[in-house]
């Protein structure tokens, strides 16, 4: 329960005595501890490259596989949480740090997540020779990359926006830097961090499934988990097994939604300064259990106590040291620092280009750019098609607040559900109807990410003030005029947010959706995703680097030239306040 750090505790000893709610809470906690122990052992099992880990298609094995998958998710989440707090704190508190760390984060964000997997897996395996842990780490790292960046951005943003008077109050009342971080800065960051974390985890299920079956230098390593179960089912053309996997995944996401997502969101509202924020919201049942159970007070008290001990130690250490006089870096130092940074960047770029040019000729590099264009066209067309479908539906739902309340959790659920579980079904259909894979593989890219458009359109529509709607009615604004002048401008900012998320997700998905297998049949669509998938399977590192580099360039260019402009337009012109 790291997330409870920073939470104040009034340590009434009587509050820590167990009660009936602990009957519910205790097994959950003990179960979680046992799961971690079991998973930890399984993860560090002995393993040699080339060894094939048997994956059974027996549906009764599925719960165990699901647990392994969930455990990977949890590891990645904890790592992301630690990373985001440390990285954002360094970036927000040091000027030099900010100058490098934030642009790096911006680039990292545009690297396709499965690209990280292709690049890092050999390194991780070398790190733990003879153990499965290396491969596990590579998979966890891939999931980590799908979560860490935007969580870090959110923390950084929050750290930069702590209200000035609160900082002054913290200084006036002599909070130590450590205390200030945990009592002021982290709590302030929590609402947005939790929201981003939950959104990331939802997106992460897709990648956890995709990253379990890793191909290294022509050999496929299958980590026990739902993703590998699916991969095996695909190899053996077992449609029933895929059905079981979908079912189990459904249960897993449902549990995640009920046991983690909703309680955490409810808890995070406590940290909002807005007085009305938690008035009309129903408290999720599991949140109530956690609040009532004494066990969690105990855990919380323990965590706070540890935090206090660290604080005391740090304060004592700081007191022993002479108070350092704040040294202002000079302008010369700044300039030198910038030059060094530019030099480093130039050297890295030169090295990368030489590395790629050793094996790849100019013609192929040009071809990869053309492939990128093909994928870009797919992404744009799909966003357009999805918008045409979901904007009217989203508006219709959003105009009915009660319906919207009921649909919203379902959409969130759909967004979390890993769409790649349905890829085999698409292949079967394409084969059955002899359809053109160049066209019909494309929808797979947006299968999982289209929900962000729907979700945000609903949010945007419900946010439209009643008064504006009444005014439009009063003026007799109807049909196409109403769409053009009232609702589309009103939902535009929210729609852009949704479209950006959907587009980013689609670029990522292209790596797994442009090449799809069913048994020994492989369907391929022309595009950069297929290029990366093929070169990764071959273990051709220069070409992997080329493919991922070009994909990054495309994503960055799209962000800068299209999305950021739309964002600015939305922020400047079409805000509702």
């Amino acid at each position: 329960m790291e997330q409870r750090w920073g939470l104040p505790l009034i340590a009434w000893p009587s509050r820590l005595r167990p009660n009936l709610w602990d009957l519910v809470a205790l097994p959950i906690v003990l179960g979680a501890i046992a799961l971690i122990a079991w998973g930890g052992m399984a993860m560090s099992a002995r393993y040699q490259i080339g060894e094939v880990l048997p994956i059974s298609l027996d549906p009764w094995q599925l719960p165990a596989y699901a647990l392994r998958t969930v455990l990977r998710m949890v590891c990645a989440l904890v790592a992301s949480l630690v990373f985001s707090l440390v990285y954002a704190a360094v970036a927000a508190k040091t000027r030099q740090g900010e100058k490098i760390l934030i642009p790096i984060l911006d680039i990292l964000q545009s690297v396709p997540i499965l690209g990280f997997l292709s690049i890092t897996v050999t390194g991780f395996i070398a790190l733990f020779p003879g153990r499965l842990l290396g491969v596990e780490c590579a998979a966890i790292f891939a999931i980590f990359t799908s979560q860490a960046w935007n969580m870090t951005f959110s923390v950084y943003q929050s750290l930069r926006t702590v209200p000035g008077e609160l900082i002054e109050a913290a200084r006036m009342y002599h909070l130590s830097p450590w205390k200030r971080f945990w009592r002021l800065e982290v709590p302030h960051a929590i609402p947005s961090l939790v929201w981003n974390m939950m959104m990331s985890v939802s997106g992460g299920w897709f990648f956890v499934v995709a990253s379990e079956a890793i191909t290294v230098a022509g050999q496929t390593i299958m980590l026990p988990g739902i993703g590998s179960y699916i991969a095996t089912a695909i190899n053996q053309r077992d449609l029933a097994a895929i059905g079981y996997a979908v079912l189990v995944m459904f249960v897993v996401i449902l549990l995640y939604d009920q046991l983690l997502f909703r309680p955490l969101l409810a808890w995070s509202r406590k940290f909002q300064a807005d007085p009305m924020a938690d008035e009309d919201n129903v408290r999720p049942w599991f949140f109530v259990v956690l609040q009532r159970a004494r066990l969690f007070d105990l855990v919380q008290a323990g965590v706070l106590e540890i935090n206090r001990i660290i604080d005391d130690t740090l304060t004592a250490l700081a007191r022993r040291r002479r108070p350092s006089i704040e040294r202002r870096p000079t302008r010369e130092f700044d300039i030198l620092f910038d030059i060094a940074l530019l030099g480093l960047a130039a050297a890295a770029a030169a090295w990368l280009i030489t590395f790629i040019r050793q094996t790849v000729d100019l013609g192929e590099i040009g071809w990869v750019f053309v492939l990128g264009l093909a994928t870009a066209a797919r992404v744009l067309i799909l966003i357009g098609v999805a918008s045409l479908i979901w904007v009217p539906i989203g508006v219709a739902i959003g105009l009915r607040p009660q319906l919207a309340d009921r649909i919203q959790p379902i959409v969130q659920f759909l967004a979390a559900f890993p769409a790649n579980l349905f890829f085999p079904v698409a292949v079967v259909l394409i084969l059955r109807f002899q359809a053109n894979p160049e066209i019909w593989l494309s929808p797979l890219m947006i299968l999982g990410t289209q929900w962000y458009i729907l979700f945000n359109v609903i949010v945007g529509t419900t946010a439209l003030p009643q008064e504006l709607q009444r005014a439009a009615q009063n003026l007799g604004v109807r049909r196409s005029l109403w769409w053009r002048r009232v609702i589309l401008p009103a939902i535009f900012p929210a729609y852009v947010t949704g479209a950006v998320t959907a587009a980013g997700g689609s670029w990522n998905a292209s790596i797994v959706s442009e090449v799809v297998q069913w048994g020994d049949t492989t369907l391929t669509a022309t595009g950069i995703g297929a290029y990366i998938a093929r070169t990764t399977a071959d273990g051709d590192s220069a070409r992997i680097a080329l493919g991922i580099g070009v994909l990054c360039l495309y994503v960055l260019a799209f962000n800068r030239l299209l999305w950021r402009r739309l964002y600015d337009l939305a922020a400047e012109r079409l805000r509702l306040d």
């Binding site: 920073g6 939470l7 104040p8 009034i10 340590a11 209200p163 008077e165 609160l166 002054e168 109050a169 200084r171 006036m172 009342y173 002599h174 909070l175 130590s176 205390k179 009592r183 002021l184 709590p187 929590i190 406590k270 940290f271 909002q272 300064a273 807005d274 007085p275 924020a277 400047e572 012109r573």
Partner: protein, 430 residues
């Protein structure tokens, strides 16, 4: 002289502007807070009064000069000085008790002792029963009580108050102020001196033993008014009214431009901090001034009361009227000039005419913008150009506000146009 609690000597503050010029905010302030004294600081925006309070608190280092608390230099927040903030600055995720205990916790006070002292401070300030409430459950007045409890629980010698009542409605502010004064007069709190920054003249006269009036750009101590009226003070008494009038006069006239008829005003530059006044409010105020009961002349405190305007709303209007030559102020009274009366009687088009002439004549920034646009071949100029010019004189937010003000005036007067999307000023359509 051993009764000095807090003392500053020649304190100045300069902020760096983007092009490495210094912008002077506070200029050589010598100040002393004596034992048992409440000092109120009044001043218009730009007088640096808030900055000065933060320098006293050790939150902002002065560029020059020294601050001493009981003879010890203050370079960072010290034990013995507590502060109450304008927007309460409560931690939303801590309960009332948690917020009050926080300061003690940082002092290393042990659990049981901490609780005892926090509960007693909550009791003193009248919040008992709300120990476990979160700030968001409380009204503004209750929240500021938490702010006071948090400040008082550390037994401070000195309490620094940064417009503590200005976010509250009139009734709530009055109650809380009264309660604080009662505690102070009865010595129920250990505090030995208070400095309050205020924007409410009557509030200052009601509670302070001494009022400091700051002038603007840069902030200097313009006047000190000792108040020896016995407490509780009635705002209706003649002595009280007289001091209020005196303060009004000091605040609405500039040194050297004291509004005497015919006195030549000191010329202002393009970097002048234009007051924040809308054309709507200005014409409303002029109309009201011409009509009964004022007939062109009004007592400022009375006007503020009648028109329901607080100091921060009234003063920019008064200043603008003076700037445009529509009115002048002397000894606490405002009087319309013939031009002001002509404006009141004119129809909408003629009013625009008068406004435009006054704007070009008396506001150098407006005249400057118009001149630049006239000279440019396309009669267009980006707003950023003027923003950069203003940055030498004003802070970043003030620059934006001043330019917005002049753009609004200029658009109304139709001396130039502005396009929001492209952020370009032009002479289009003229």
């Amino acid at each position: 002289m051993n009764d000095s609690l807090l003392r500053t000597e020649a304190v100045s503050k300069t902020y760096q502007t983007p092009d490495h010029h210094g912008r002077l905010v506070l200029d050589h302030i010598d100040f002393m807070l004596r034992h048992g004294e409440i000092v109120a600081i009044l001043g218009k925006s730009g007088s640096g009064k808030s900055t000065f309070l933060r320098i006293l608190a050790g939150l902002v280092p002065p560029s020059e000069g020294v601050v001493e608390y009981r003879g010890i230099p203050v370079t960072q927040p010290v034990h013995g000085i507590a502060m109450v903030f304008q927007s309460y600055a409560l931690f939303p995720w801590l309960t009332v008790l948690g917020n009050v205990e926080l300061g003690l916790e940082a002092l290393g006070v042990s659990g049981a002792e901490r609780r005892r002292r926090a509960v007693s401070a909550i009791d003193v300030i009248g919040l008992d029963g709300f120990e476990n409430a979160y700030p968001k459950e409380l009204s503004g007045g209750m929240r500021q009580r938490v702010g006071f409890a948090r400040a008082l629980v550390v037994d401070p010698d000195i309490l620094l108050l940064d417009e503590p009542f200005s976010s509250l409605d009139v009734l709530t502010a009055e109650t809380l102020r009264g309660d604080l004064l009662d505690l102070w007069d009865a010595h129920r709190i250990p505090t030995k001196g208070m400095v309050i920054v205020s924007h409410n003249i009557e509030e200052a006269v009601e509670i302070a033993d001494r009022i400091l009036i700051f002038s603007s750009d840069p902030g200097r101590i313009r006047a000190q008014i000792p108040i020896s009226l016995p407490r509780p003070r009635s705002s209706e008494s003649a002595g009280f009214r007289q001091i209020v009038d005196q303060v009004y006069t000091l605040l609405t006239t500039e040194p050297g431009r004291d509004g005497r008829r015919g006195a030549k005003a000191e010329p202002i530059g393009i970097g002048f901090r234009l007051p924040d006044a809308s054309v709507q409010q200005l014409s409303g105020l002029i109309e009201n001034l011409t009509e009964a009961p004022y007939h062109g002349r009004a007592d400022l405190p009375h006007l503020a009361d009648e028109e329901n305007l607080v100091m921060d709303e009234l003063f920019p209007l008064i200043e603008t009227l003076q700037l445009f030559g529509f009115a002048h102020v002397s000894s606490g009274d405002i009087e319309l000039t013939p031009l002001g009366r002509a404006y009141a009687e004119a129809d909408m088009l003629a009013r625009k005419q008068i406004f435009a002439e006054a704007l070009l004549k008396h506001v150098p920034l407006a005249a400057h913008i118009r001149r630049v646009l006239d000279e440019r071949p396309g009669h267009r100029a980006p707003a950023a150009r003027f923003l950069r010019e203003l940055e030498d004189h004003l802070s970043e937010e003030e620059v934006e506000r001043v330019l917005d003000t002049v753009i609004n005036w200029g658009r109304h007067a139709e001396i130039f146009a502005y396009d929001y999307d492209s952020e370009v000023l032009s002479l289009e359509n003229f």
